[in-house]
Symmetry: C2
Subunit: 194 residues, 2 copies
């Protein structure tokens, strides 16, 4: 990727700090210091804290869309793709044990702050929801059932991330990810016996 503009650097650092410390706690001074610029310069790029939050959410959306697009290429079956989703919990285990799920924790925080960007943050969850739903649709599930399954996988993953953060238990994460895989097999099996 090479060089990033100051603006891009700010977004990247802010993304990281919002995840690791939370949005409310993270200050402009903190971001500016990590980027290596003055606070005055910071305001040249972003006028308000909401502006930078918006840019961070936008970046997360773009990043996740690229991720999903890669999975479409890397995995041949919808089942493999769904499992790739659940394995975020394993690939990013270190971060998740420390800070939870970036999507779930940001939405939760903004929701409590009654922040105008809450719905935008939720749209990242919606992105995964729609993508998971499309995988289930490819197996011939009805619209509503495919969506129910998508929400179920999302909820399961979110719960695992939350408890992983609370108890710092990698074995638990491995067990639950295997559990999702098993549940998926059963869901697909029930489909063929209908």
């Amino acid at each position: 990727m090479g060089k990033l503009s100051t603006r891009e650097k700010i977004i990247e650092i802010a993304d990281q700090l919002f995840y690791e410390q939370g949005y409310e706690f993270t200050s402009f001074a903190h971001i500016a210091e990590k980027v290596g610029i003055s606070r005055g310069n910071f305001y040249h790029h972003f006028k308000t804290k909401d502006d930078i939050l918006e840019a961070v959410i936008q970046k997360r959306l773009v990043d996740r869309e690229a991720l999903l697009s890669n999975w479409e290429k890397d995995a041949k079956t919808p089942k493999e793709r769904i499992l790739l989703y659940t394995r975020i919990l394993i690939f990013n285990q270190d971060k998740i044990l420390q800070f939870g799920c970036p999507v779930g924790t940001l939405t939760s925080e903004l929701s409590k702050l009654d922040h105008p960007m809450t719905d935008q943050a939720g749209s990242i969850m919606t992105l995964f929801r729609e993508w998971l739903k499309s995988q289930f649709l490819q197996y011939g599930f009805q619209e509503s059932e495919a969506d129910d399954h998508a929400l179920h996988v999302l909820a399961w993953s979110q719960g695992v991330a939350t408890l992983a953060n609370t108890f710092k238990d990698t074995e638990f994460v491995n067990r639950e990810v295997a559990g999702i895989s098993q549940w998926l097999d059963e869901a697909l099996l029930s489909l063929s016996t209908q």
Copy 2:
């Protein structure tokens, strides 16, 4: 219950505000105003923000212990008791749609703040974990399996609370709570066929 002391009133309001707005965002001024006392008076009762957080967590622990104790009386079988736990998601649905799970969201927030009380907040989750485990033990599950099941029920509930907050979908909550009940039946069935 009748009259509450000023101290008790502060703890109660702080408990509510930490849940609804988050710990970091809630200020002494905000709590004092809702209690109807001056900031100066506030400091007579609690010297630091950490002190009041500690009192809130302590109160939550006591409240939850009383809740679990009631469930032991109200429900005759371990299965009924576990289902009472999952039905918090239904009883408290309005609050959960608005603010998520009070236990999970506080632990998550404190974890990001790297707050010294993070582990104390986690002990509320541990309380439920141990209690759920003891219910599974009564069915003859092995120690480790009973604990795995307890964590599974906890994670599932946490995930449902997170997504309920994101999507404000009561039907989803009802479906998932029914799903936990069904999973529980299957887990108990697998036990008798071993």
